[in-house]
Structures are given as C-alpha cells and as structure tokens.
Amino acid sequence: MTKAVLTVIGIDRVGITARISTCLAEANINILDISQTIMQNIFTMVMLVDLSKSTKDIDVITEELNKISAELGLNTQLQHVDVFNSMHRI
C-alpha cells in the first residue's frame, strides 16, 4: 500500500488532529492532503497519506490509531486509496 485515506469521525474536542498527526509522524507517514469539517459538533477529518516510507507495518499503525480512537471516542479507518477511486471514479 502506498497511498491511503485516513478517515476520523467523532465528537469534537481539543487535540484530535495533533494526536493523529503525531502518530503518523512517528511512523514516518507523510500527510499529502487534509480536509476537516465540524458539523453539529461532529468532527470529520479526511487525510490522504503516503505510506511508502512508513517505518511501521500497517497492522501496527491501525492498532495505534485504534488505541487513540478508543481514548478520544473517535472512529478511525485507514483504507487503500483504490477503494475510493474504484467506487467514485470511472
């Protein structure tokens, strides 16, 4: 996997972006694009990330993200970019 989309959804609170980006940085994962909205207090962040130089296995990263999600009450999902390309682009 080289490029992936990380989706983070949950109740807005201080430090979500910071915690997630730190986790990615520690694994040498580059953030290529980021979009963030807050609607009715629901925080939604979508990141396009580059995993090609990642120092950690995808299992490990997913586990770390799950840990942060549980702590902050979030829902995170890391998925190959092809999932979205296939579904939304012909």
Binding site: M1, T7, V46, L48, Q77, V83, M87, R89
Partner: protein
C-alpha cells in the same frame, strides 16, 4: 483532494453503518486430475490438492480486508462436481470423499466447501447415482460440505426421476439431522440451469468449463440500497430505479476491486463478480426491508413481485458496468431464514410459499431456506421443487430450491439454524397431494424455448 471528503465519508458510512461487505471470495478448484482407480487414493489426492491450492486463501483475504478496510465475510472453496470423480462406487465410498472435503475445508479455515454435486438434468450416470444416494449421510457427517443437484436445464428439459428422488433424500437428510431441526438440508440445493461459476453457497461448484482454478466474488449490500432509497421516498419509479442502479454500481465496484486484489495476490485468474444482493439475518441487511421501503406495508403484500422486479433489474444494470466479468447467479436473493425482513413477513402472515414462488419468477434464485412442517410428504416436496424448476426451465433462468422439512415441527414454530443460516418460521404447505403426478417419473421434454439455433 482527488476525491471529495463527502464521497469518502459516504464510503465509510456504507461500510460502518450500512453493512457493506464482500459476502464471499470463493476459490474454484479443478479436481479432475485427482481421479485414480482407487477411491481411497482419490480422496487423499483431493485433500492434498485442496490444501495445496487453497492454503493461502484465508490469509490473503485477511490481508486485503486490512488494507482496504472492507470486511470479507466468507472465504470458501468450490470444487469439481464430485459425481464426476467417482464411478460406480458404494455409498460409503462417496461419503469418504465428503470427509476429505470436510477435513480440507477445516484445515485451510474456510466455513463452507461446495461441489458435492451431481449434474443429472438428462439422467444419472453411475457416479451420479452413487453420489446422490449418499447426500443425506454425507451432509449429516460433515459441517462444511455443501451439496447441489442440477435436475433440469432449458436445453435438456426436466429430469422428474431425479426430482422424485430429491424429495425422498431431502426428507432423509432432515431426519438424520433432526436434533438441529433438519439443518443438513440447509446445505443442499436442487437447481435448474445451475451456473458453473456461482460463488455463493450452498450451490457453488467448479464447473467443467472453468479453468484449473479461479476466483469468484459475491458482493452484498441490501443495507446500502435501503439507505439510498430512503432519500427518494416521495419520488417516482424512474428516480427509484435510477437510485438503485447508481448504488449497485458502487457496491459492485468494491467486489471488482477485491476480486482483482485476491486474484493478483493468489496468482489465480479472476472469474466473475456475482451481482446478487445477499442479505443476512442482521438488522439493516435485509432485501425484504428494501421492498418495504419502496412503499409496501409488509413484504408479501400485493406489489411485492413488482418491487422485486425493479430491484433485481436495477441492480443488474448498475452492476454490469461496474465489473469486467459478471456471472454466477446475479440477482436479488430472497432466502427466508437468512433475511430479517422475510422472517418478519412470514411471522406476520404476509408472505406465503405461493407468493415466494411468484417472486422467484423475477429474481434469483428460488425458494431458498424455506422451512416446512416435518410431516410434509416427500411427494409434496418433490412437487414444490418441480414447480420452481419449471419456472427456471421455461424462463431460461437459474432457479433453485433449498427446503427444510423440519422433523416434528408444525406451522408457526421457529427453527433456529444459527449464524448466517438464520432462523426460519415453519411455513404452511398446500395440503392437497401430488403423489400420482410425481410418481409418473421420466423426463419432461425441453421447452420450445430451447430450440434457438
């Protein structure tokens, strides 16, 4: 961003809230080269080949699941119809092969293995005879082995001898597994026009026109379709059909992606994506609820056949463009015990066996996971099968019957099969007999529709 955040969250919602998943990745394996003169050696070779070819299926699917973030619910194996691998052998010899299939399935970690199958649409070979006779015992001695018998094709007509035999064998299989409500019958399908590349159980087998091995994928997503049409509640049928079509396209794209990835990682050619909308007993994963969302008070009400026709057609239209090769059964499934809405409709008295039969004229597959009283005569079960098979033969489509005459159970009892097989309310069967009709035996000639050359 290359794809809008709205589109991304839509996909994530489909997976997390609307049960979008890949229902099955099925690896088809040719076993013809396992045939030897000795049944014991043949069954050992079968075990070895399945384990050798299929050993990476489960780990590869698990890694794709992680990478794509899409659940792959079932990993399964389909093999060459076993009747082609055995000659004029005794019943016990056939069951030995069933045990080999079971052990291979268990060892590589798949939940079902299909192909304990005979194709008898024009008549029995010696191998077919042995295998068909052994089905009740084979199913009773295994947990994962799935069996199917093709009793008719549009080209060949209907083998009524086989239909008569199947009524008796289904009763026998139910009796042998009476402790679990006749659950062995849930792994036995009687087909007309059986497809050779169907990835779904219990009817999957690796047809003789298929390559050495192949990956076929079945998608799911009734919940996604239901959510999509909730947004067009007050719109007309054109908008409704269009909405289903677009949704089906998106769902099928996931199937195509997973099929390609599995094929590439396993080094096995990609066969087809099956467009069927497959329900589960889970809330929010029901085909019946889609029909109700279209405006019916309860599935089974007048209008249900039309609603299903719309759904089935729109799903195919959307799905066809989304996949490079479409095959298998490809249509909406309406298994009663595996669909929470269908279970509810039967319990409410809204959905009868007769209505289900009508519904099967416009969708795949047929009378699926129907529980009937245990005292239903074998000839009546044969006649139910014959009616369903006639629909398939005349309309040039696949139809099938998976019926469970639950021993000791009466109408309105509920039989729980557990897991994906769900729980089925016992349905009322027409009490008038068909015995003399079924006793005639022989073959019904192929219909005029078969002469297309």
């Amino acid at each position: 961003m290359f794809i809008s955040p709205d589109e991304i969250t839509q996909t994530v919602r489909m997976i997390q809230e609307e049960h979008l998943d890949i229902r099955t990745v099925t690896l088809g394996i040719n076993l013809l080269d396992c045939v030897t003169g000795d049944i014991k050696t043949t069954s050992e070779k079968i075990y070895d080949k399945i384990c050798r070819t299929g050993s990476r299926l489960v780990p590869v699917c698990k890694s794709i699941e992680k990478e794509m973030g899409i659940p792959i619910i079932n990993k399964r194996i389909a093999v060459t119809p076993v009747s082609l691998l055995v000659g004029n052998v005794c019943l016990e010899d056939c069951v030995m092969i069933a045990r080999s299939l079971e052990k291979a399935a268990e060892d590589i970690g798949v939940n079902f293995i299909g192909g304990y199958t005979a194709l008898v649409h024009k008549g029995y070979t010696n191998g077919d005879k042995s295998l068909v006779k052994s089905i009740p015992q084979a199913l009773n001695e295994t947990k994962r082995v799935c069996s199917s018998v093709n009793v008719a094709t549009t080209k060949a007509g209907i083998n009524m001898d086989a239909i008569r035999d199947m009524g008796i064998l289904i009763k026998k299989a139910a009796e042998l597994s009476k402790e679990t409500g006749g659950s062995a019958c849930a792994r036995l399908v009687v087909f007309a026009n059986a497809p050779e590349d169907n990835p779904f159980m219990a009817g999957a087998f690796h047809g003789i026109g298929e390559p050495e091995c192949v990956i076929n994928v079945g998608v799911s997503g009734p919940g996604v379709v239901k959510s999509a049409i909730e947004k067009v509640r007050d719109k007309d049928f054109t908008v409704l059909a269009e909405t289903i079509k677009k949704t089906a396209f998106k769902i099928t794209r996931m199937g195509q992606l997973i099929a390609q990835e599995a094929s590439r990682n396993l080094g096995v050619p990609f066969g087809i994506v099956d467009l069927s909308l497959a329900p589960t007993p889970a809330i929010g994963d029901s085909v019946a609820r889609i029909l109700e969302e279209m405006g019916l008070e309860c599935c089974g009400a007048h209008g249900t056949t039309t609603a299903l026709a719309i759904l089935n057609d729109a799903v195919k239209k959307g799905g066809t463009m989304a996949s490079s090769h479409v095959g298998g059964l490809s249509g909406a499934f309406i298994p009663v015990s595996e669909d929470e809405g269908m279970i509810n409709a039967v319990s409410m008295g809204a959905l009868s066996l007769e209505k289900l039969e009508a519904m099967t004229c416009v969708c795949s597959v047929g009378l699926d996971m129907i529980v009937v009283p245990g005292d239903t005569p074998a000839s009546t079960i044969s006649a139910i099968i014959a009616d369903e098979i006639a629909i398939g033969v005349v309309n040039n489509k696949t139809t099938a019957v998976r019926i469970i005459p639950a021993p000791g159970r009466k109408v309105r009892d509920v039989v729980d099969f557990g897991g994906l097989l769900g729980r089925g309310p016992v349905m009322k069967v027409n009490p008038f007999g068909s015995e003399k009709f079924i006793d005639r035996g022989g073959r019904i000639p192929a219909p005029i529709q078969s002469l297309r050359n």
